[in-house]
């Protein structure tokens, strides 16, 4: 196709188009400003976490970290109202459980919807897609009443069990499997005498791995950051980490350096994950965008 315009015309075309995709100064300034604005609140969180509470009253505000982090940490973990350690442990348990089970169940169902033929597949898929449109908060009151009925209010399983698999996860796995796994691979495994589960385990799972990494990261982040539902269903003496943050806020006196230390500790694990897997997260979002 390119060979259609050899020699001169091609060079001229290059002249008109040259630099079309190079970032100009305006672009650079826009991006720089955005990155500064994006990163600054997180940086500020770390600054306040390493200083005493006086920091918020001083002008100009100090922009470099101080040396109070150790003292703030011991105040944070020693705080009797917030149960911060328990909150961290609870969130780690909840996020890990939900992530593992979402990966398992979503990949099973996604595989079935993408590659297996069964009666009612289209209708069930449609039902699932419709439910994805329904906002989560619609169900909070009745879900709470249900939890109260079966005695789960205040218990950690209340923030785990209802979320063990989501329609979003199933759909994502289905979309990925549809395009990444050739039908021939499944058929040859069948001829080979593999059971359906064996096919899932030895043929489908390895192919799904990149999509599962992204779904896993998203699910973990979401569960770790969940706020409303734990606030509704859990008790202050058995919180998740986000609930615990809310408990650090005193009624009469706001101890910013304490709250910011808590916020920093609660954010750090996800920040680490983001730094390590940023590339996968970005490509996951961008691939997902194209399929939507």
């Amino acid at each position: 196709m390119i060979q259609k315009t050899p020699g001169r015309p091609r060079a001229r075309r290059g002249g008109a188009v040259a630099g079309l995709w190079n970032a100009g100064p305006l672009t650079r300034i826009t991006l720089l400003a955005t990155i500064v604005l994006s990163v600054f609140p997180i940086y500020w969180m770390l600054v306040v976490a390493t200083r005493t509470n006086d920091v918020v009253g001083s002008t100009p505000p100090p922009l470099v970290p101080g040396g109070e982090l150790g003292r703030n940490l011991s105040r944070l973990f020693g705080n009797e109202q917030a149960h911060f350690t328990l909150g961290l442990v609870n969130s780690a348990i909840a996020a890990t459980t939900v992530t593992v089970s979402t990966l398992l169940f979503a990949s099973l169902a996604g595989f079935a919807f993408a590659k297996l033929r069964f009666r009612g597949r289209g209708a069930l898929l449609l039902v699932m897609l419709a439910t994805m449109m329904v906002p989560v908060q619609m169900g909070i009151i009745p879900l709470y009443m249900l939890m109260a009925e079966i005695g789960w209010t205040g218990e950690l399983q209340a923030v785990i069990v209802p979320f063990l698999v989501t329609g979003f996860g199933v759909f994502m796995m289905r979309q990925y499997t549809m395009q990444a796994l050739p039908d021939e691979l499944i058929e040859s495994a069948r001829i080979d005498g593999c059971s359906t589960f064996r096919i899932y385990w030895s043929v489908v799972l390895p192919v799904m791995r990149p999509a599962m990494a992204v779904l896993g990261l998203f699910t973990f982040m979401q569960t770790w950051n969940e706020f409303i539902w734990p606030l509704a269903v859990l008790d202050p003496d058995n919180p998740t980490v986000q609930y615990s943050l809310n408990l650090l806020n005193g009624a009469y006196y706001t101890d910013y350096s304490l709250m910011f230390t808590g916020t920093a500790v609660a954010t750090l694990p996800l920040l680490a994950v983001f730094v390590l897997f940023g590339r996968q997260i970005i490509s996951g979002i961008m691939d997902g965008a194209l399929k939507a």
Binding site: S38, W44, G57, P162
Partner: protein
């Protein structure tokens, strides 16, 4: 692969006659059941959980909404009375107004900024992944964390926002006190967290636009701004509709930011100046323990979301159509 299939088939053929046939028969029956039942087995965990914790509660809300249903005490069937009360409840409509207001002043600039940002990210540059990560990093923070940090940045006496505004001669603002200032502060929190994410979605769509279009336009002498208006925007329309609908769903559920901005007060300020519909639902359920009324409110929110998404869709469609 093929080698293993061949060798197995060979092994089977060599097998002496006698016992194998019945076993093979049992096997094919099993295999048939396996093919028939496995799909249902695989999707059952999702549907089981969904019925127990999704559909059943949702249906139950309808039932509860038709009752005068309080935590302790009455549980009386009242028909559509709760819905009638919600529709004539000034506090509910105040919450609707606040939600809509914050939705507009958060979403419109957010999507516009995301477009500009995506256009910038689409240029050739060094350290591409690092730049994208820098834009996306707010997404990893929890809403609770965002609300705490921004609550401090927007605080009246020592907040950095007021300090910066002070350079321009603006008096210290009490951001929570007034309707407009509280809406603005809450919108900033929402936008800070989501603009980068939407920019990446737009970027993905922009990268699927054939580059020849731009090159042809450049040869014809179209400026960059012109290219953006005449090529990028029309090609992005489906994606823009998608993000607008997602933002509508998110916008009507706005809860944590305003709640923590008001120090955990579900009323959203002394004059309810930033109480959203979801906060109002929560207030009725978990402060007044009036489950029936709260359920009716939650169904109204659902209707509003449906209506909002529909309007968005139609409007953005038509806007593109007249071009």
């Amino acid at each position: 692969m093929t080698v293993s299939i061949g060798s197995r088939a060979g092994a089977r053929a060599v097998r002496p006659p006698g016992p194998p046939p019945p076993r093979r028969g049992a096997r094919t029956v099993l295999a048939r059941w396996d093919v028939k039942l496995s799909p249902y087995l695989f999707i059952s965990p999702y549907f089981l959980l969904f019925f127990l914790f999704g559909l059943f509660p949702m249906g139950y809300t309808v039932w509860v909404a038709l009752h005068d249903w309080e935590l302790l005490g009455t549980r009386e069937f009242v028909g559509l009375e709760n819905f009638r009360l919600v529709l004539t409840d000034p506090q509910f409509w105040n919450a609707v107004r606040n939600t809509l207001g914050m939705f507009v002043i958060a979403t419109v600039p957010q999507l516009l900024l995301a477009l500009v940002l995506a256009n910038a990210l689409n240029q050739r540059m060094r350290a591409r992944t690092l730049v994208r990560m820098g834009v996306l990093v707010p997404m990893v923070t929890s809403i609770a964390a965002v609300a705490i940090v921004f609550g401090q940045l927007f605080s009246r006496d020592f907040g950095m926002v007021n300090w910066v505004l002070g350079w321009f001669g603006v008096e210290n603002l009490d951001w929570t006190a007034r309707r407009w200032t509280s809406w603005l502060a809450i919108s900033v929190m929402v936008d800070w967290r989501w603009t980068g994410y939407n920019a990446l979605i737009y970027l993905a769509a922009m990268q699927s636009i054939p580059r020849d279009l731009y090159e042809a336009a450049a040869i014809d002498g179209a400026s960059r701004a012109r290219q953006f208006w005449s090529i990028t925007l029309p090609m992005l329309r489906p994606t823009i509709i998608f993000t607008a609908i997602v933002s509508t769903i998110g916008g009507f559920q706005l809860f944590t930011e305003p709640l923590l901005f008001g120090n955990g007060d579900m009323a959203g300020g002394s004059l309810r100046q930033f109480q959203t519909v979801t906060m109002y639902m929560f207030e009725n359920a978990f402060r007044r323990f009036d489950y029936g009324y709260a359920s009716a409110v939650s169904w109204m929110i659902f209707m509003l979301i449906l209506l909002g998404s529909l309007l968005n869709f139609v409007w953005l469609r038509r806007m593109g159509g007249t071009k």
